[in-house]
Subunit: 203 residues, 2 copies
DNA sequence: GACTATGTGTCATAGACTGACAGAATGTCA
DNA sequence: TGACATTCTGTCAGTCTATGACACATAGTC
């Protein structure tokens, strides 16, 4: 018994309206100084309804919805790309190559919506935590890719640790990148710099 | 003009009472189901007073007080130990050796108070974030130690990334360790396993 | 003993979030 | 089209974390 389509459209619409209003307010007034009631008022709904669309105030910035596809897509693409690198490459070199290809794309989508979210998030320490957590959710996937290259099981501590280490490395790169302006061209440069040090640091 | 000592003793005492009461309640009822008012009542103070001793409810579990000394001490000890490892060792090998020496000590103190805190923290996802954040606060120190070994500047992206990567690796090791029982003897084993994979993964 | 600094309780309030209920809109089906 | 169920929404009430303001008591100083 499939439910109608007008309802669905309205739901998507309302969600989008709230999302835009919230982001808009947070960009100008800051996250803390934007109350849920503000957002609700600006969206033309009640604050109770806001919570029917988003689990929490912070959830507006970590929008797992159209992201859901993205989320897994990015992960999948990453893993696949990693698997397709020649086995002759070291793990670190393969990852560097993949990052060069894929990381830039992540911020080139969405009409810069993700970038706007990122800026608000990075401005608020408490949100940085959540962002990093979301980032690390890809850990198991990445670990699986590493396990394949290293001929071990994904559940082993080794690949898991390796993945976590690289993820945190990427995270720091992103923070540094955003702190230094966030120019898309700068990203590959920072990646190379960081990975060069890691290569020597582990030898 | 030095203020009295009875006051100081009372303050320390009250803090300790709240700390113990809070941890006790959280262990039995769980973090979320323990309200500040519960803690206050069990401690014989008002909830307003609770917030005069701790910035937030979570702050009880990330006690920067007697930790303050510990906090820096551990960091210092770690950095010093790292500097004292022979220059012939690789960075990864030096760190492994230091962890073997120092990491166990961290949970052998405090009459297991830190361990009790850790268990409550790990049971609550939202608290894991904070814990990891606190853990990563040592980042700059560790980066400095690495910079010294690698003959670069601590502010460089390289050492910073390297430190972050290793820290996250350690964090994952700790999570795995705690999830698998938390026996003190197991820790070195896990460290070795993880570092072995990292060494091959980076080659 | 007078004076000051500090700690505490009480009261009031803001803000995030949740449950319960009623009414309105949307969907299905005869 | 009209009866019926489903879903969405607003309103209201309430919990919990956290903060500011005020008054009172206690500890410290001279």
């Amino acid at each position: 018994m499939p439910m109608g389509r007008l309802r669905d459209r309205q739901r998507v619409e309302t969600r989008a309206v709230i999302l835009e209003a919230a982001l808009d307010l947070m960009e100008t007034k800051g996250y803390e100084h934007t109350t849920v009631e503000d957002i609700a008022a600006a969206s033309g709904v009640s604050s109770r309804t806001f919570f029917r669309y988003f689990e929490s105030k912070a959830d507006v910035l970590f929008d797992k919805h159209d992201s859901d596809a993205d989320h897994d897509d990015k992960s999948q693409a990453m893993t696949a790309a990693l698997a397709n690198r020649p086995a002759s490459e070291s793990t670190i070199e393969a990852l560097r190559a993949v990052l060069h290809d894929k990381l830039g794309e992540l911020f080139d989508h969405d009409d810069g919506f993700k970038l706007r979210q990122l800026r608000v998030v990075l401005a608020e320490p408490s949100l940085r935590l959540l962002a990093r957590e979301g980032f690390h959710e890809h850990g198991p996937q990445l670990a699986a890719a590493f396990a394949q290259r290293l001929h071990t099981t994904p559940d082993d501590l080794g690949p898991r640790v390796l993945a976590a280490a690289f993820q945190e490395a990427i995270w720091v790169i992103l923070e540094r990148w955003s702190a230094s302006g966030g120019e898309l061209d700068r990203l590959p440069v920072l990646i190379d710099e960081a990975f060069a040090t890691m290569a020597t640091g582990f030898r």
